[in-house]
Symmetry: C2
Subunit: 339 residues, 2 copies
């Protein structure tokens, strides 16, 4: 039986993460789920008779305040290190989900699980909602790699495309390169060099794009250095919060407005749902030898269950194999054209 390892430590609400995974475990009876964390926290949430779930006790937690490399070495009894060890220990363990410290999860995945052959740097591929209902856009890299080199970014494009194919069934994901203008020559030195590399890859490359078009639904994948990708994801989050805050203010600004808002309750609820990033689950860290999904610190039931769905979908669609092929294919020298 294939198994999925769940690190319970380091997230804001372990109870909600556990409950979400339990829901997923009921749905996916042909997979085993191994919770790793404090037994006293996990066990009360496991319904009796749920046979595909087990708990591995790990008493300590790696937090955001820990230095990732140091903590991974020192806290060998932490939930995260234990989870990685179980993941590495068995062929049947296909993936890991954690809502813990981003730095520790990514560093652990790279150091303990290891990179797929040929991968320069694994990429954190975050999803954002778009204007088109149900359609998401993948930001690669969203913050794992600052100071990326152009050749890293070319691989981000390949890996994220395979992810979108496997995870969303989109045959030819449209790839845009984040820049300061749409013209080929626009951008900093890194982006211009990345453009030249990505152009040569077997991808649906739409060229440079601007941050204002990130959410239009035109792009499936947006490739960027982790610094600007992080700015893109976080400014989208901050702006949506600010605008929704102002909308809420407007809705409650007078008695008349309040009455109006009451009449729109249903519409406003569906508006809120359409922008809830929890429904997409966490972000996969692509380019390591097993499927690793990093949940938001504020992971809830919905995003935990969605993250499990994502791991299973990526596994069943063999995303790691296609990434490996794609990377080694891109590395091969081009064959001469036979006349």
């Amino acid at each position: 039986m294939k198994s999925i390892i769940i690190d319970v430590g380091g997230c804001d609400r372990p109870d909600r993460l556990i409950d979400g995974v339990v829901q997923a475990a009921k749905k996916h009876g042909d997979y085993a789920f191994v919770f790793v964390g404090d037994k006293a926290i996990v066990e009360p949430h496991i319904p009796s008779g749920l046979n595909n779930v087990s708990v591995e006790h790990a008493p300590t937690v790696i937090t955001n305040d820990d230095s990732p490399t140091h903590a991974l070495r020192q806290k060998s009894d932490s939930s995260l290190v234990t989870a990685f060890n179980i993941l590495n220990g068995s062929e049947d363990a296909i993936g890991l989900f954690s809502g813990g410290s981003t730095g520790a999860v990514l560093t652990g995945a790279t150091l303990l699980v290891g990179r797929i052959k040929g991968v320069h740097r694994p990429v954190l591929a975050s999803l954002m909602p778009t204007s088109i209902p149900g359609k998401v856009v993948c930001i690669a890299d969203s913050g794992a790699n600052v100071d990326s080199k152009p050749e890293f970014m070319a691989q981000f494009a390949l890996m994220a495309s395979e992810y979108i194919k496997a995870g969303f069934g989109i045959e030819k994901p449209v790839v845009g390169l984040l820049s300061v203008g749409t013209e080929d020559k626009k951008g900093d030195e890194r982006t211009k060099a990345a453009h030249a590399l990505i152009k040569e890859l077997p991808l649906e490359f739409a060229g440079n794009m601007e941050a204002r078009d990130a959410l239009t639904g035109v792009y499936d994948v947006i490739v960027c250095d982790g610094f600007s990708g992080n700015v893109l994801v976080k400014s989208t989050e901050g702006t949506a919060k600010m605008v929704m805050g102002k909308v809420k203010e407007a809705l409650t600004s007078s008695l008349k407005a309040k009455l109006g808002a009451l009449m729109m309750k249903k519409a406003l609820k569906s508006l809120k749902a359409s922008m809830d990033y929890h429904s997409y689950g966490g972000a996969p860290f692509l380019g390591v030898k097993k499927i690793v999904v990093k949940g938001h610190g504020s992971t809830n039931e919905v995003s935990a269950a969605a993250s499990v769905d994502m791991i299973i979908s990526l596994h069943e669609n063999r995303v790691l194999e296609t990434i490996e092929k794609s990377i080694s294919g891109a590395a091969e020298p081009k064959a001469d054209v036979v006349q």
Copy 2:
């Protein structure tokens, strides 16, 4: 009489830009306004008897499709080149406003007007609204300088702070450095080096900040390389547009919602106004020897008039002198502490 030069070419709606400046000219009777552009377009908009306004004919326009450096050299009869020549030709000409090609305006300002002594690179300082009503935040640099060096960014911090002091009367503008986390050690190599330099400047430096907090109103100035600054400004714009689009959809999704929206008309109108970037005017390009303000391509009456107000406020508060002092002060070796 001090004069302000208005380049009418290259914006989407010259008529609206002209009308906005005419309004400003009526308000600021002690300043002269020189419109530069096609007389046939400008003159019909000038009310007879408005004595502080004149028109200088320039038949051609530099567009976004032109290469800035090439166009500035070749199109000597363009409105932009003519406007820069008038600006340079007189001590009394204090500033220029243009809604034309960003590349051409910034390149023209640097090459034709010239940098203030000691300035590495002039900075495009764009404003964005925040959660706090009436409070704006300045993004420096918002796209003029990709591939900035840390020492450029330290000067961006100084120049933008002087701008916020002069333009908004904020005595000690709070400066944040855009990064991927708030800890000092977080960021790419450039940001870490910039952090070390800015820390030593006589500024209200709040350290690193994340893009999600850009609009909270905590910061007056956000310092960044022009690439990530451009991503920040444009993703804010794109996200606000996307969310407001979804709000509009919700408001019209059913008869009941439409009736509700009708009751909230006033509240929704003030919501829209609170997010209208036109009210802030254009973005000053700081670090050149005269005041140059770059308007949005879609400049309307409100933003044109606000841009004129900005030029006058920066002039009357001697922002160029304080920038020069601030830059030369920062370049001076620190005095030894006398025991």
